[in-house]
């Protein structure tokens, strides 16, 4: 591929035929040629989780955000807020899909941008219309992922009325957090994020405290970050690897055998795993342990479980994971939307297939790897390489091998028998 993707700011359906053909040249849009024998006995997994982007914009200007600072700039062309007609249509499509597949439960993540910019009334409307559209027999679980800076008692009333659990993004202590999570003016957001977590820790709100999301920065001491997060007594922490690809590697990740992210995470693993009492849950570690014990992952970062979620952007477009924005402009697009298309139609999109076929959709090297059932090829966006697409090991491959080996060793050393 010779052209530079960085100049393409439009979703694929708006690209010229030439650009579109160029994009279609990479796997899985081109070359997803699964053996007929596999497809003959295979049915896509219905979509059980929806990430609804109520807001396109954000009140912060974090320099590591995959929505605003990476290859994709499509947020500029979206409505600032998801219109109520789009919310209603989205809810109807979700209900239609749930009824068609006789699903007992549906999960919805309210997301953005910063979803609290939508306002308390819009959150209330969204939750009400979702509940009204779904059959009463379908359990609805709604969560919201926020930077916390706008969380108030007014929001808490709405969140309580719909039992919406709240996840807050925070990267450690003030200096660590404010290195990235700043307003456009340069002012840090730690104080307000911490205040939001303290609000959620009030006895009257504690049941809605969902957990903390921390993006790893190798410059931060891992145990200091963990200690800082523990002070908020979170029920669960998720550590995120910074998004990057083979074509645009994440900070500190090069072609060498060095494993800085595995080393960083392993320090926290040992502190967490060998604590006399369990201090909190750490999603990534629990997933790896569960996989090593023979279970199946419920996270799309590791393991071979089929991905069961879609993103609905503020304009109603149906998209793949937002993190694909780290790859190239338009990477999350399916070309489908809630007005013209059913959710079932999205299940046949090549990239949705690629995320549901497990081992069959991994690079040859991954398929031959001894730890593939635990690693699963890593997070899908991290496999991207310009020219070949997503049929590659993760750019974090050395770190994943090292981390899984470390966890496996510690697990063996402490297992009964």
């Amino acid at each position: 591929m010779s052209s530079d993707r960085s100049v393409r700011g439009s979703p694929p359906q708006l690209l010229s035929a030439e650009c579109r053909a160029d994009l279609m040249g990479e796997w899985p849009e081109s070359g997803l040629d699964i053996e007929p024998a596999i497809l003959a006995h295979w049915q896509p997994v219905p979509i059980r989780e929806y990430v609804i982007k109520l807001v396109s914009g954000c009140n912060l200007a974090c320099d590591h955000c995959y929505v605003y600072t990476m290859a994709d700039t499509s947020w500029r062309s979206r409505p600032a807020l998801m219109p109520r007609a789009t919310i209603a249509r989205t809810s109807a499509r979700i209900a239609q899909h749930a009824a068609h597949h006789k699903m007992p439960r549906v999960r919805v993540v309210l997301h953005g941008g910063e979803p609290l910019l939508a306002g308390a009334d819009q959150l209330d409307y969204t939750a009400r219309v979702l509940r009204l559209q779904l059959d009463p027999s379908v359990a609805l679980e709604i969560t919201i992922q926020t930077n916390g800076t706008l969380l108030t008692e007014e929001f808490m009333k709405v969140l309580h009325s719909h039992q919406i659990k709240v996840g807050v993004s925070i990267d450690g202590r003030e200096a660590q957090h404010d290195r990235h999570r700043r307003y456009a003016s340069g002012r840090g957001s730690y104080a307000l994020a911490a205040a939001a977590i303290n609000l959620l820790n009030k006895p009257s709100h504690k049941e809605l405290f969902g957990g903390l999301l921390c993006t790893i920065d190798l410059r931060n001491d891992p145990l200091e970050v963990y200690a800082a997060l523990l002070e908020f007594t979170p029920p669960v922490i998720d550590f995120l690897l910074p998004h990057g690809t083979w074509s645009s590697p994440p900070p500190g990740r090069d072609d060498s055998a060095a494993t800085p992210y595995a080393d960083w995470l392993s320090s926290i693993f040992d502190r967490w795993y060998f604590a006399a009492r369990q201090e909190t849950r750490i999603r990534l570690f629990e997933e790896v342990i569960h996989l090593l014990l023979g279970g199946h992952s419920t996270s799309d970062q590791v393991g071979l479980s089929p991905a069961d979620y879609l993103v609905v952007d503020a304009d109603g477009s149906l998209q793949l994971t937002d993190a694909l924005k780290a790859a190239y402009p338009g990477a999350p697009e399916t070309g489908l939307n809630v007005f013209d298309n059913t959710i079932d139609q999205a299940l046949r999109h090549p990239a949705v297939l690629a995320r549901q076929l497990g081992l069959a959709a991994l690079a040859d090297k991954c398929q031959r790897c001894a730890i593939v059932s635990a690693c699963g090829g890593g997070h899908y966006p991290h496999r991207y390489r310009r020219g070949s697409g997503f049929l590659n090991p993760s750019v974090y491959c050395p770190d994943l091998i090292r981390l899984i080996a470390h966890i496996s060793r510690q697990l063996r050393s402490s297992s009964p028998g």
């Binding site: 992922q145 055998a257 992952s297 970062q301 090297k365 590659n392 491959c397």
Partner: protein, 67 residues
């Protein structure tokens, strides 16, 4: 499936991956004994495994968020 331009693992890590058995084999350990593990983390993971075995719904991979 069309092979992509697949980067190689650094060789030392290839060796490490090859040496690993992907599953921690606890099949010889009675369930009652597993439940008595002194590790609270492992105990929780074993309870999760029991729930998964009992649940008829296949596991799926959800959105990457803290909640």
């Amino acid at each position: 499936m069309t092979p992509g331009d697949q980067p190689e693992h650094p060789s030392a890590l290839n060796d490490l991956a090859a040496e690993l058995t992907p599953l921690v084999d606890l099949s010889a350990v009675p369930l009652a004994e597993l439940r008595t593990t002194q590790s609270p983390v492992l105990a929780n993971c074993i309870r999760r495994l029991e729930r998964e075995v009992a649940d008829s719904e296949a596991a799926t991979a959800g959105f990457n968020s803290a909640v």
